[in-house]
Subunit: 133 residues, 2 copies
DNA sequence: AATAATATTAGTTATTATTATTGTTTTTAT
DNA sequence: ATAAAAACAATAATAATAACTAATATTATT
């Protein structure tokens, strides 16, 4: 994955715009379907290449919940994620009072920290109401 | 993935023992190779099925770093992970002073929290020494 | 202990997500 | 305007995981 890409590309622009304009945390394929409406002959490989590029450059976030598929998030603001173990929905956790100190981690591990990911899993209110599935 | 499995299985036992006895965060395939030394004709599917079973029951942890491969951890104690963006190694972050309050998240989101995952990424000391790759 | 019921298995095939390749087109620098 | 490099679409290849099936191992029942 050697990406020294610097040129403008309409495809990348649109991918980024679509990702930024959604509140969900889409997969590459979801984005692909959206972009196709604007660029019908775009290829899935282009979507993957650009998502990886953008993630490597820190323009978007890439994560996964231990599952088999990567998901992307165009929102770079400090926030966390939570997923329902039953319905699999993913939501943002806007902010928590606790500040996690990256500096502490840096001095603890010697790493230069680039990013921090915090996610929770559990049962969402709706599924709780519906009871045991 | 409906796993109402209750019977004893030697395969599962050995998988769990191997996972618990390593400090690394192996993939299904890594575990498969290990188990084969004890049960030469075990199948990879069995390894996957049991890892998923154990993870669903909360006996082990399953995660991934946004990549394509799941990794497993037999250590259930409270700890976090850090990965080097260059050499891809994953290490434990033993404990941090900040306590993240799941109760705060529960009242903030309405979710019943099952688990919390915190991971960092950055550049490990060794790669820092080696400089830009 | 023998039997019946069923979870689990090995072996295999299928599916899905992702990456790599190749020849062509776009973009940028000169 | 032209040349070099980046990015592309199309497609093939790979890798991870899930699904299927008939046989085996484990447990519960007699």
């Amino acid at each position: 994955m050697d990406l020294k890409i610097t040129k403008y590309s309409r495809q990348r622009d649109i991918i980024l715009r679509i990702l930024r304009s959604t509140k969900c945390h889409p997969t590459a394929d979801w984005i692909y379907e959206k972009v196709k409406k604007e660029i019908p002959n775009i290829s899935l490989g282009t979507v993957y290449r650009n998502l990886n590029f953008l993630a490597d450059k820190g323009k978007i976030r890439r994560f996964s919940f231990g599952g088999t598929t990567a998901q992307f998030d165009g929102d770079l603001r400090d926030h966390y994620h939570i997923r329902c173990d039953w319905c699999k929905r993913i939501e943002d956790v806007p902010h928590i009072s606790t500040r996690i100190s990256c500096q502490e981690i840096e001095s603890l591990t010697g790493y230069r920290i680039h990013s921090l990911n915090l996610f929770f899993s559990g049962i969402c209110p709706e599924c709780q109401r519906k009871g045991e599935q």
